[in-house]
């Protein structure tokens, strides 16, 4: 039985795929009678099956070596594309995380989208993401990772665009698609360029090749940077971070998934690519630099947001930035650990924010407040999520960041300092959000605020429970350091940075000492953070602007130069311009005739000497000329 579960683990992405296809039946355009709700239930069932299969296979795999399967996908000319599957405790564990979070998000969606008619589309897209992400972790090849990332880019476009009749949603979906596509295309360039060098796309093969590779440093730097761009887009790193902010226009249950695991797809590929990236020190330094800028910038921006979802989404960028730092400094294990703890903690945070947003009908932090006594369960879930995120013992985030900081302590102390700052800022930001929602005075929007129905509350509390259990899970798979090897200096520093951030923020936002809204002393600086470093404007005046201008120029050239010139040369000389444009009467026939005759004459003239060689024409000519 257990062997069968492992052998058939490739089925895990197939279950949600089936659910996705089945949901099509309940599209309002196809089935009206039942309403779209059955699509949600069907998908919850298929997701549950996938989760169960993954969980059982995981237990079976814990004391077994990984299983490698391969399927030939395409063989053409000298290119042989084999799809390699890696079924190991790590990959199956990742699918369990994905399907589990997805199941909770789907149940959450039942409550959250109670009145929505887009169920079938929504659930099929959630299932699409689930299938894609499960496949991504199982497929052990750069080429197939690229394939799936690109397909998921399309999924992002459709999932953000669920409520497509709102204009902000439409632009958000567009920007998400194009930003991610930019990353994907650079990744494609990297995929194309790495093959002639390594002659393989398998991650294992790439790692083996990277051990002994002797390549031109300039070339491998370019390739590495291109490969880096794909994860940058997915993980919403500067300067490709804007989409995650705009994606917050989409429905909240999908945000649970997006902020926790979808962004992590990029991190997964980054971790897998680490041996290749390590071939060029420039690429590693760039990875760290991008991660550092995003982490610092993201936390600063998060503090300046008044939209609760956006504030959380910038923290997601920041945490992915820390993963980038981890990979750049070759601490991939710490990076993966961070992905896990961040996913669960962030899911709990988003779920509890959603629980607030849903029945207070606002996500504006300035209109919320004083909810602690009214919403104790949500409040507790939020607190647990927050504690699981930042580096405060004993929950998960602490151990992940500790592992990273410990690895950096001896070699790059500056990065440890950076981590302390990021952690303090995150703690500050998350406490600020807590304070603005749960502390302070009751606002008009929060006067009546009961806890939600079970479909919302249950997934939220389960997520909080999972966050609480992360240390035990880590303990059971020997990922926690024991007391003897624990780097106590780093642990203390991290703890103090969290305490510093939390308490400073608590004084400002929970205590009633400072008058709200709190302003930075210098307004332009506050605006710089609040408006996301003016990135949208920057985009508009750079990339978008230049494409716009070039397309205008092309259009003009096409209209007046290419077409005009051809019309001038080709047509005017033959028939005299204007007549032709209106020549849809009997005149056209005469044009056709002219052309046909001209054609024949040309043909005869061109072939004259040839024709005269041929016997028949020679006879004809001699006959005519009488010789």
């Amino acid at each position: 039985m257990s062997q069968w579960l492992i052998q058939s683990a490739w089925l895990i992405p197939c279950y949600p795929l089936i659910g996705m296809l089945l949901s099509i039946i309940w599209f309002p355009a196809i089935t009206r009678r039942t309403g779209p709700r059955p699509a949600g239930y069907v998908n919850a069932i298929t997701t549950f099956i996938a989760f169960l299969h993954g969980l059982l296979a995981l237990f079976a795999l814990l004391n077994q070596p990984p299983l490698y399967l391969s399927v030939s996908w395409l063989q053409v000319a000298d290119l042989n594309l084999v799809l390699p599957l890696e079924i190991s405790a790590l990959t199956i564990g990742a699918t369990v995380l994905i399907t589990g979070l997805n199941l909770l998000a789907q149940i959450y969606g039942v409550g959250y989208l109670e009145m929505d008619w887009g169920w079938a589309r929504f659930y099929s897209m959630l299932a699409f993401f689930e299938a894609g992400m499960c496949a991504l972790v199982l497929f052990n090849s750069l080429f197939f990772s690229y394939l799936i990332l690109e397909i998921l880019t399309l999924g992002t476009y459709l999932l953000i665009g669920i409520w497509f009749n709102q204009s902000l949603v439409v632009t958000g979906a567009r920007d998400a698609f194009l930003t991610k596509r930019v990353g994907d295309l650079f990744l494609l360039m990297g995929v194309l360029a790495i093959y002639p060098l390594a002659h393989t796309w398998d991650y294992d093969g790439l790692a083996r090749w990277a051990e002994t590779a002797e390549v031109n440093p300039a070339l491998i730097t370019l390739v590495g940077l291109a490969l880096l761009a794909g994860p940058m887009g997915k993980c919403a790193q500067f300067p490709l971070h804007l989409w995650l902010d705009e994606a917050m226009e989409g429905p909240l249950p999908s945000t649970i998934l997006r902020n926790s695991v979808v962004v992590a797809t990029g991190a997964w590929v980054l971790v897998k690519l680490q041996p290749v990236l390590a071939l060029s020190p420039v690429v590693l330094a760039t990875t760290i630099a991008i991660g550092a800028v995003t982490a610092i910038g993201g936390t600063l921006i998060a503090i300046a947001q008044i939209d609760v979802k956006r504030s959380l989404s910038y923290l997601v960028s920041a945490y992915m930035g820390i993963v980038f730092i981890a990979v750049g400094s070759q601490q991939t294990e710490a990076g993966l650990l961070l992905v896990l703890t961040h996913a669960l903690a962030m899911a709990a945070l988003v779920a509890s924010c959603g629980s607030i947003v849903l029945n207070n009908i606002t996500q504006d932090l300035t209109q919320l407040g004083g909810l602690w006594s009214r919403r104790p369960i949500t409040g507790l879930s939020f607190v647990i999520g927050a504690l699981g995120l930042i580096a405060l013992p004993p929950l998960g985030g602490f151990w992940a960041i500790l592992k990273l900081a410990d690895g950096l302590w001896a070699t790059r102390p500056a990065l440890v300092g950076l981590l302390l700052v990021i952690n303090a800022l995150t703690a500050f930001s998350i406490t600020r959000t807590f304070g603005l929602i749960f502390a302070g005075d009751v606002k008009p929007m929060t006067v009546r605020s009961p806890e939600n129905l079970w479909a919302i509350t249950l997934p939220m509390t389960i997520l909080a429970g999972l966050v609480l259990h992360v240390p035990m899970i880590l303990q059971s798979v020997d990922l926690l350091p024991d007391w003897a090897t624990l780097n106590k200096d780093v642990a203390l520093l991290l703890t103090w940075s969290s305490i510093f951030g939390v308490s400073l923020s608590a004084v400002l936002y929970i205590g009633n000492v400072v008058k709200k809204p709190i302003q930075l002393p210098w307004k332009p600086l506050q605006d710089l953070f609040a408006y996301d470093f003016y990135t949208p404007t920057l985009y508009r005046s750079s990339v978008v602007g230049s494409v716009d201008i070039v397309s205008r120029i092309t259009d003009w050239i096409d209209r007046y130069i290419v077409d005009g010139l051809v019309n001038l040369v080709g047509i005017t000389s033959l028939f005299g311009g204007e007549a032709l444009k209106y020549g849809n009467s009997g005149q056209t026939q005469s044009y056709v005739l002219t052309i046909a005759i001209g054609l024949i004459l040309t043909a005869l003239w061109m072939s004259w000497s040839f024709l005269s060689h041929l016997t028949l024409t020679a006879q004809l000519i001699s006959y005519i000329t009488g010789s």
Partner: protein, 503 residues
């Protein structure tokens, strides 16, 4: 066996053309569908009989005709011709399905379509240069009529423009062929005898240039493309499917069969120029597609860019890239057909193709939800999203050409990014957004509107997920064709490591 593909539609065209006026339109349409359906089934049967391991020409047919002119009735097909013949048969059938049941002057309309289908099949199968030319010119007049009678408001202008360009293209091709035979002193116009020519390289290049311009007009490639937007936009939806799906492929087929096939040496000398030309074409087409406000014009411009990929694949002279180029012809034919069909349905139901007028069509109650969903699929296939047929063709081209022309390939990759830009503009403005419920009283979308698109969508997804079925037919032929470029092949093998490793 092959003759049936040509003469069945042409015979059908004759029968339908001379039916009495009392026969109702619906029956004429069904008759045409039957004829083209039989041709399609016959094509599929040929597909099953086709020997994949054989790189050369199969199903050869020979009938002496005007031997003194060197013109004989010679037909045969290899992998390249096979997939294009299948595409032709399929898209003819789809075109007929997509045509309105209330078409005016149905006898002329349907007989012209069948005539085009037979003529195009003949051109793909012809093994004699003059015979190819005859079939190539044969579809000119039916197309002229199809555009000028059933087209849009400016159809006269569009039809004449199409005619002039295509006639130019024909004249250049004829000139190229005659020049080739005359200079080599071959006994007849058969493809085989023209193939082994050993002309001085200068003459080869000259003749190749003439043919490239000739076929480049038909494909079309920048800067010979300006007939295309006008013609496509003014033609009715079924005709656009034929124009974009089949006729454009005739140009691409000519470039590969007669450009690369007959002048391998000159081709390999010119290949850097061709690759650059392809890259420019791709970027130009994509950039030009961003501005228009008419969705049909946007799709038409997308076609220009996509033709560039074919040229890039052919220019790279690696088997992989050539297989990719041929697959791109098929994929592009299917994708363009679904896009033009759906744009036609939208135009018919909503009454507009303007981006500023269309909005929120994805609305499930009052909009065109199923049509919009299929439009998203088609547009994404065209933008090269994996899992759909367009991606694998483009990927094979890129992978095959990267080691030879890295810069041009990367430019082409940028081109796919720009393709996504204009398709997202198109989708955002038509499918997304708020439907104006005050004016949205559209006719119901019936099953017949969806059916052709569903078939095409099924094929696009199937070939995207199982690309083996797209590439297997052409692999042997492509490798054989590349093998005729001996010098180039050696150079490439020697050059590949140095390009990628030392630079």
């Amino acid at each position: 066996m092959l003759s049936l593909l040509i003469w069945l539609p042409i015979l059908g065209a004759a029968i339908i053309g001379f039916l009495p006026a009392s026969v109702p339109t619906r029956q004429i349409r069904n008759g045409a569908l039957t004829i083209s359906g039989v041709a399609l089934l016959w094509t599929i049967w040929l597909l099953l009989r086709f020997d994949l391991s054989e790189a050369g020409f199969q199903f050869r047919e020979y009938l002496p005709w005007i031997e003194t002119l060197g013109l004989n009735y010679e037909l045969a097909m290899d992998g390249l011709a096979l997939v294009l013949v299948v595409l032709n048969s399929l898209l003819t059938w789809i075109t007929l399905l997509s045509s309105s049941k209330q078409t005016e002057r149905p006898r002329l309309f349907y007989s012209m379509i069948l005539l085009v289908s037979g003529g195009v099949a003949g051109a793909f199968l012809a093994q004699n240069l003059l015979l190819f030319f005859l079939f190539y010119e044969l579809e000119l007049v039916p197309f002229y009529l199809l555009i000028s009678i059933w087209g849009g408001a400016k159809r006269g202008y569009a039809a004449i423009k199409f005619l002039i360009y295509t006639a130019m293209s024909g004249a250049l091709i004829l000139a190229g062929f005659l020049g080739l035979i005359w200079l080599t002193g071959a006994a007849d116009f058969s493809y085989q005898s023209a193939m082994g020519q050993t002309l001085p390289i200068g003459l080869q290049t000259l003749l190749l240039g003439v043919l490239l311009v000739g076929f480049g007009i038909k494909m079309p490639l920048v800067p010979f493309h300006t007939w295309l937007p006008d013609t496509y936009v003014e033609s009715s939806a079924p005709i656009t499917i034929l124009l974009g799906g089949v006729l454009a492929k005739l140009g691409a087929y000519g470039v590969i069969r007669f450009g690369l096939g007959l002048f391998p040496e000159a081709w390999s000398n010119l290949s850097p120029v061709l690759a650059t030309w392809a890259a420019v074409s791709i970027l130009y087409g994509a950039m030009a597609a961003i501005r228009p406000k008419d969705i049909k014009r946007m799709v038409a411009y997308s076609s220009i860019g996509h033709m560039g990929y074919i040229l890039l694949g052919a220019a790279a002279l690696t088997p992989l890239a050539l297989v990719g180029a041929i697959s791109q012809m098929v994929a592009h034919g299917l994708i363009l057909a679904i896009l033009f069909h759906l744009v036609g349905v939208i135009e018919q139901k909503v009454g507009s193709r303007e981006l500023d007028v269309l909005n929120g069509l994805l609305n499930p109650i009052r909009g065109l939800a199923s049509i919009s969903s299929l439009l998203i699929l088609g547009a994404m296939a065209s933008a090269g999203i994996p899992g759909l047929a367009g991606f694998i063709a483009e990927f094979l081209i890129f992978q095959g050409s990267y080691s030879v022309f890295p810069i041009q390939t990367l430019m082409a990759v940028v081109g796919t990014g720009l393709t996504a830009v204009y398709f997202v503009i198109l989708l955002n403005r038509t499918c997304f957004g708020k439907l104006d419920t005050a004016t949205a009283y559209y006719p119901r979308v019936v099953f017949e509107d969806r059916f052709p698109a569903l078939i095409l969508a099924g094929l696009i997804v199937f070939l995207g997920v199982q690309p083996t079925w797209l590439v297997r037919w052409t692999e042997a032929s492509s490798s054989a064709m590349i093998a005729t470029v001996p010098i180039a092949a050696e150079q490439r093998l020697a050059a590949t490591p140095s390009i990628t490793l030392t630079d």
